[in-house]
């Protein structure tokens, strides 16, 4: 899960990383009160998990109560790249002498951790790395040995950061950040900028932290989790224990297996449609799980057709078909359903589905045929998901014609 900046700072602060004192608040008067407690000047920062908030006007300095109120009024409720600002972080403003960059993440190709350190912070680090390759010091860190003091000092010198007021303080801060990343079960810890203040102090002025959801069992992350789901559909799916990702299209997707669900979305877009979601119901297709999945997808107002794509392995085709039919008996579904059933005893399963086939329930033997049928039904319902009688166009998400054997 991606933390908001204020949560990232709280997370880092709890592990001893110096961060600015501040408060997260959600109405203008609370902003003024927080600013008065912190002491002017303050910075009011929009809390959204998307880049570019500075350019969008989501960060403002206030030198008195009036300015703080005005800043809060302007920022709260603002839309930044489709993200509505519900909360701001108010913190003490600092006089900045220098801006640096540091991050820890996993290098998947090397299968170990990677630290990036640069004297050029406050800007897009990928652009810095592209322009001046030597400006970013990369350090592979062994998952067992961790970051040693000697390694850390050398890293600081490679990054030409030995001109900071206190190298010892920087090395200690990097060590604490590493602990936050490794012991804190983070997938990413990025501080950009890491500033040197006019007074010579080192402070993490921003914090981008992604925590590993799989490690939640050994941490107390409930407060973070509570602020996560912005999408109503995703909340509903999570409550039912389903693997769901909300998308913007009209074809509701239910599949068993993450790969198959992704592949289903691709095939729908290949034939000119758009998927409303990713939904993996896991192995087999038990009636209760299928019913829960149908409910969640059906509740999405954009969905005009539901595409159920199941491969029966250990769960045989007839059991899968019975599960689907039983689920349909339990929930009232407003959209037509197209089922593609394949795998062990698929023919027997399709026979069962055939007995229930109607305009509301179609069965197609292949993924592509089923996707076509679904997209056609979606188009008929008047939503912009391809048009009947028009050959499916290769949309922008279409597949490049590469890799075919001549």
């Amino acid at each position: 899960m991606d933390l908001y900046e204020y949560q990232g700072k709280q997370f880092l602060a709890s592990l001893g990383v110096p961060t600015p004192a501040g408060e997260a608040v959600d109405d203008p008067e609370a902003v003024v009160a927080a600013a008065e407690r912190l002491g002017f000047p303050v910075v009011v920062k929009a809390q959204v998990r998307v880049g570019g908030r500075g350019k969008a006007g989501g960060i403002r300095v206030a030198t008195d109560a009036g300015e703080a109120r005005a800043a809060a009024g302007a920022i709260l409720g603002m839309d930044i790249s489709g993200h509505r600002v519900e909360r701001v972080w108010v913190e003490r403003a600092w006089d900045i002498a220098a801006e640096h960059y540091v991050s820890f993440t996993l290098d998947r190709a090397a299968r170990c951790h990677l630290g990036l350190l640069s004297a050029r912070g406050g800007v897009d680090i990928e652009a810095v790395a592209a322009e001046v390759p030597g400006a970013v010091a990369r350090l592979h860190i062994d998952p067992i040995d961790g970051l040693s003091l000697a390694q850390c000092r050398e890293w600081v010198s490679t990054a030409a950061l030995d001109d900071v007021p206190s190298v010892d303080a920087l090395v200690e801060l990097l060590g604490r950040l590493w602990i936050a990343y490794s012991e804190g079960d983070a997938e990413l810890v990025e501080v950009n900028p890491l500033v040197v203040t006019a007074g010579g102090e080192l402070v993490a002025l921003d914090a981008k932290v992604t925590l590993d959801d799989s490690a939640a069992f050994r941490h107390d992350w409930e407060d973070y989790a509570a602020t996560q789901a912005g999408d109503e559909r995703e909340r509903a799916a999570r409550a039912r224990g389903l693997q769901y990702v909300g998308l913007d299209g009209t074809v509701g997707i239910i599949a068993n297996g993450a790969g198959l669900a992704m592949s289903t979305i691709d095939v729908v877009s290949q034939v000119g449609g758009t998927a409303a979601n990713f939904l993996d119901i896991g192995g087999g297709a038990k009636a209760e799980v299928m019913a829960a999945a149908l409910e969640v997808v059906n509740a999405d107002p954009k969905v005009t057709v539901i595409f159920v794509n199941i491969f029966g392995g250990i769960t045989r085709g007839e059991e899968v078909a019975k599960g689907i039919v039983a689920a349909l008996g339990r929930v009232a579904i407003t959209s037509p359903i197209v089922v593609r059933l394949d795998g062990t005893n698929a023919a027997e399963g399709r026979t069962i589905l055939a007995a229930h086939e109607s305009e509301r329930l179609l069965s197609r033997p292949t993924m592509v045929d089923a996707a076509r049928a679904a997209v056609e039904l979606a188009a008929r319902s008047g939503w912009p998901s391809g048009a009947p009688g028009v050959a499916p166009a290769e949309g922008p998400a279409g597949r490049p014609d590469v890799g075919r054997v001549p």
Partner: protein, 293 residues
Amino acid sequence: MTILVDEHTKVVYQGLTGSQGRFYGLRNRAYGTQVVAGTNPRKAGTDVEGVPVFATVGEAVQATGATVSCIFVPAPGVLPAVLEAAGAGVELVVVITEGVPTHDQARMFATVSRDFPATRLLGPNCPGVISPGRCNIGITAGEIARGDGPVGIVSRSGTLTYQALHELTQAGVGQTTCVGIGGDPVPGTTFVDCLALFEADPDTRVVMLIGEIGGSAEEEAAEYVGQMATPVVGYVAGLSAPVGRRMGHAGAIVSGSRGTARAKIEALGRAGVAVGRDPSEAARLVAEVVAGL
């Protein structure tokens, strides 16, 4: 020949006494796999339908000669379970469990490769490995596979693998071995590892590679394909996946401009890999290559 496992492979199941371990362990035995032992320190001395349960993998190995361990223990216990298996000297540790923390994955891979270089880790979050007709370790339905074939399969996705096995079998095309490397960020065994094993196997004459978004394993595989004599056919899922969203598997995420399906398909294409537009087309392409052998 097969890779990794065959009819002589003896397997110990860590977590055999749990519901998942029991279900799949017994299924694997019914398939013909030599399921020789289970472990559970609190149930040592008992058995699961005739399969003896030992306190540790070390004891199980000593008593039965098991050379492979298959892990079904819950995610928090996977790291110690892997280290226990590697320490007991097994050659292959197959981790089926999903939801192992990423830092644990990195720690267990680093420890196994440094301290137990003779042990190979497969997974976590993988369906396992099957050499059809000989040995099935994990959760793949053995019925959909067919042995003695020319096709080796390596995949990051479970159901897409089953789909491929099923379609090849329906088309009368057999498989040597099918390896699920799993969808997590730190896989113990990579595409490149499996491509090398298949390349060295005289009976594997075509390789099918099934990838998905996230990371750069497909790009690394594409680079390796250049050195191979065996033809490779591919499929990559996730062309329409949005940026920054995890699509089910922990490792299936496009980060900024990195890890897109398009880049992977293009890299494989440049390396001469025939890439199917959907899983069925990929299976047809494999069958075509097999027909031309």
